[in-house]
């Protein structure tokens, strides 16, 4: 295959990024539940334990708080750990280390230490894993100053943003949607970085801006393609990072299109879309709005087990199409 067009899955791209990081810097190591011999609950670490040994690919006991504590401590003392939570839902168990320790230490110690830890969170619904294994909690962590929170939406970004996270002096939380792990896409060889804090315009358009995160980026692109035939020209902004937010890209896009639709899988109320809506309403883009801002987010309910109900709790392509069409045609 032509190297320039090499395709990898999202999971393979992350694995390759972790291998490159370990090759480049001997301080980098991996920790997590079942990431060694088993290869990770979603096979993201794969055979890395065979290539780098159990000193650098470490299975932890089933104690997220303990594992996160070790990772934060290692980072403070000069290592570059990458810690995998088996499911992002279990972030709740590691919150003390993430929110009270990792996020605060640089500030409380006068900038004399930093916490260069990377934490990976397989997130989102769609796998039939029910209420405690399907949530999208990125907004929880996005609320905490001192953390950086990213949601790569493509294999290319999954690799480049993980390498950026490893190089970052501060704690970086990566939310990886589980349904994206099998998504294939072009991934360049070798080391490259996709900067944290920079949104990407995935599709240019003039009638409506859709700001989407994670798996909703692809759904928004599918909706935009479907609406092309109706003469509706949609711009899709992939937010990529939710802390720090790339305000200017969103503002510039809304100034161009005059309409904003936010699409995200996390629960709608107090979610990413609420923040994006507010930042636009506060900005100079306000005077460019020609329609109300609309949010499509997760339903106000725990994720159900029943597959049809599970689908119904998060925005799907037809929902995006309907909302976008209504906005552009002036129905809402």
């Amino acid at each position: 295959m032509d190297a320039a067009m090499r395709e990898l899955s999202y999971a393979q791209a992350i694995q390759e990024a972790m291998a490159i990081a370990m090759d480049m810097d001997e301080r980098v190591f991996l920790m997590g539940e079942d990431i060694g011999v088993y290869g990770g609950a979603f096979q993201v670490t794969g055979d890395l334990v065979e290539r780098y040994g159990t000193d650098r690919v470490i299975d932890t006991p089933i104690s997220e708080l303990g594992g996160a504590g070790v990772a934060v401590g290692a980072a403070v003392t000069g290592m570059r750990p990458i810690f995998e939570f088996q499911f992002s839902d279990f972030a709740t168990l590691g919150m003390e280390q993430i929110v009270n320790q990792a996020a605060k230490m640089r500030f409380m110690l006068g900038g004399e230490v930093s916490v260069p830890v990377v934490m990976r969170f397989p997130a989102g619904s769609g796998t039939g894993a029910a209420a405690q294994h399907s949530q999208s909690l990125e907004a929880w962590l996005g609320h905490v100053p001192g953390l950086k929170v990213i949601q790569p939406a493509t294999p290319h970004d999954a690799k480049g943003m993980l390498l950026a996270a490893v190089a970052d002096p501060d704690p970086v939380m990566i939310f990886e949607h589980k349904l994206l792990y099998k998504m294939k896409g072009h991934v360049p060889e070798g080391h490259y970085i996709v900067p944290i804090g920079k949104a990407e315009i995935r599709r240019e358009g003039r009638d409506l801006t859709i700001v989407a995160t994670s798996i909703m980026v692809q759904k928004a692109l599918d909706a935009a393609a479907a609406l092309e035939g109706e003469g509706i020209d949609i711009e899709v902004v992939d937010l990529r990072t939710i802390r720090p937010l790339d305000r200017q890209t969103v503002i510039d896009s809304v100034k161009k299109t005059s309409r904003l639709l936010c699409v995200y899988e996390g629960v709608k109320t107090l979610g990413i879309g609420a923040e994006v809506s507010a930042l636009v309403a506060e900005s100079e883009a306000f005077d460019y709005l020609d329609a109300p801002i609309v949010r499509l987010g997760g339903a106000e309910t725990p994720i159900p087990y029943n597959p049809d109900l599970e689908k119904a709790t998060v925005p799907q392509v037809p929902d995006i199409i309907a909302a976008a069409r209504d906005l552009v045609k002036g129905v809402r």
Binding site: F286, D287, Y288, L289, D290, A291, G330
Partner: protein, 472 residues
């Protein structure tokens, strides 16, 4: 803030609706979920619930008047909200459009041109300054105007519209809003700027050209105007009855069907004697069932029920004819969904027996009775009369011998059924008496060619004349 009650969108493609009946009146106490009013869409009536609890005020949505979707028709004041007359944004009455026009024809006996009989969304007064409205009335309409409660910035407008208006030196209050709830949007301001500049004779430049498309020159000959028609009759020799939504829909859809579908027609005679005998036998065999009114047969088949079934089975036998035309592809249906024209007061409607090919005669018969009953009381849901793959129209009960029906898109065919009557038929050189029914198939030539239509009609005839086939 009082809760606004709007005319909701209850049907796809619905631009306006009429309130057929209010169940609560000005000043009434309502509870969230109470039925407030009934709305008549093109073909059905639906009940609309109160969105909040409180006191109903400023009921401006008049009965039997076209109202744009999204327009406020009343407000609900919560118990702790103080009501002062005319303070809500639509304090002025919705202009009496169709309703009052008929009562007040102008001097010449003419009604205003049709274009004014249906209010475009922007022509509603609830957001306009009274100065602008006064010139809008048109002959015969002089709506009484109350004070419009206006916020200092002049009604609803998007931030972008406000900024553009500010920059152009326009007052938002002078601009008619075309957005939802009468909201002024960018296009309205741009149109207003263009209109302002259009006082000069020169062509507008590309930059200032109105966004709204200019009416295209008519390609087809225009029908006579209302004025032209009415001039042909003496004043006082007639009464004007405004169209209801059903009448408008029927007119629009039939003009569309007859002017866009290339129809052709095929007629056949079917002998009914065997079918009538079988029907008698089947009805006699119906088991008794307990109902509210005592015991009744579980079914009572009509000839029309058997025609529906025969048409469905014929389409299954000739699947190429079970199609719908679209510009890009032929839609070949996997089931026969048979619409049945039902005459109802003021018009007709075509409820659909879905998957009629798979249903037994008794199921079709009972379903048909239910649909026809609810059609007459206008309680059908849109999904019960939209779509379908063919239709049957039966005027046999009026003694009509033969007629040709207009195809109801997206169907490619419709079967017009005449009366079953005793006729002299020639069989093997002898004249015999048989009960004969003439049927005419109207066919969309784009989807079904002559030979294919003939094949379908032949399959139908075989099914009618060998009706045992419908039982298995």
């Amino acid at each position: 803030m009082p809760t606004e009650v709007i005319l909701p969108k209850v049907d796809m493609d619905m631009a306006t609706g009429q309130i057929s009946r209010w169940f609560a009146e000005e000043g009434a106490k309502v509870k969230k979920g109470d039925v407030l009013f009934e709305i008549e869409t093109d073909k059905a009536a639906m009940e609309i619930d109160a969105p909040a609890s409180g006191t109903l005020r400023d009921v401006t949505g008049k009965e039997r008047v076209d109202i744009p979707v999204g327009a406020p028709v009343a407000w609900i004041y919560a118990d702790d909200e103080v009501y002062e007359a005319g303070t809500t944004q639509n304090g002025a009455p919705i202009s009496p459009l169709v309703g009052e026009m008929s009562a007040k024809p102008t001097k010449g006996g003419a009604v205003p041109p049709a274009s004014q009989s249906v209010a475009p969304p922007s022509a509603l007064p609830f957001l306009r300054s009274s100065g602008a409205a006064a010139t809008e009335g048109g002959p015969g309409i002089s709506p009484t105007r109350g004070e419009i409660g206006q916020s200092p910035s002049g009604g609803r407008a998007t931030p972008l519209a406000r900024r553009l208006a500010r920059e152009a030196g326009l007052a938002i209050a002078d601009v008619k809003g075309s957005g939802p709830h009468g909201r002024v949007v960018r296009a309205d301001i741009e149109a207003a700027i263009a209109a302002k500049g259009a006082g000069a004779p020169e062509q507008p430049t590309a930059d200032t050209a109105p966004q709204t498309p200019v009416e295209a020159p008519a390609a087809a000959p225009k029908p006579m105007s209302d004025d032209q028609v009415l001039k042909l009759f003496a004043e006082g020799s007639y009464e004007l009855v405004p169209h209801d939504n059903m009448r408008k829909t029927i007119a629009r859809r039939l003009v569309e069907a007859k002017s866009t579908i290339p129809h052709f027609y095929l007629t056949l005679d079917c002998e009914l004697d065997v079918l009538l005998a079988l029907r008698t036998q089947l009805n006699a065999a119906a088991p008794m069932k307990k109902t509210d009114k005592g015991e009744a047969p579980a079914y009572k088949l009509s000839v029309n029920d058997m025609v529906i079934k025969a048409m469905a089975m014929a389409l299954m036998a000739v699947p190429d004819a079970n199609a719908s035309w679209t510009e890009s592809a032929m839609v070949k249906h996997k089931h026969a969904d048979v619409g049945v024209a039902v005459s109802i007061p003021g018009g007709l409607i075509t409820p659909i027996i879905r998957h009629a090919d798979e249903k037994t005669l008794s199921v079709i018969s009972n379903e048909m009775k239910d649909l026809a009953g609810r059609a007459r009381s206008r309680k059908l849901k849109p999904e019960e009369y939209q779509g379908g793959t063919t239709a049957v129209s039966n005027l046999g009960m009026f003694g009509v011998k033969d007629f040709a029906a207009v195809i109801n898109p997206p169907h490619a065919t419709i079967l017009a059924v005449g009366a079953g009557e005793e006729r002299a038929v020639v069989k093997n050189g002898e004249i015999k008496i048989a009960t004969v029914m003439s049927v005419t198939l109207s066919t969309d030539h784009r989807a079904v060619d002559g030979a294919l239509g003939a094949e379908l009609l032949g399959a139908f005839k075989r099914m009618i004349e060998n009706p045992m086939g419908m039982l298995v």
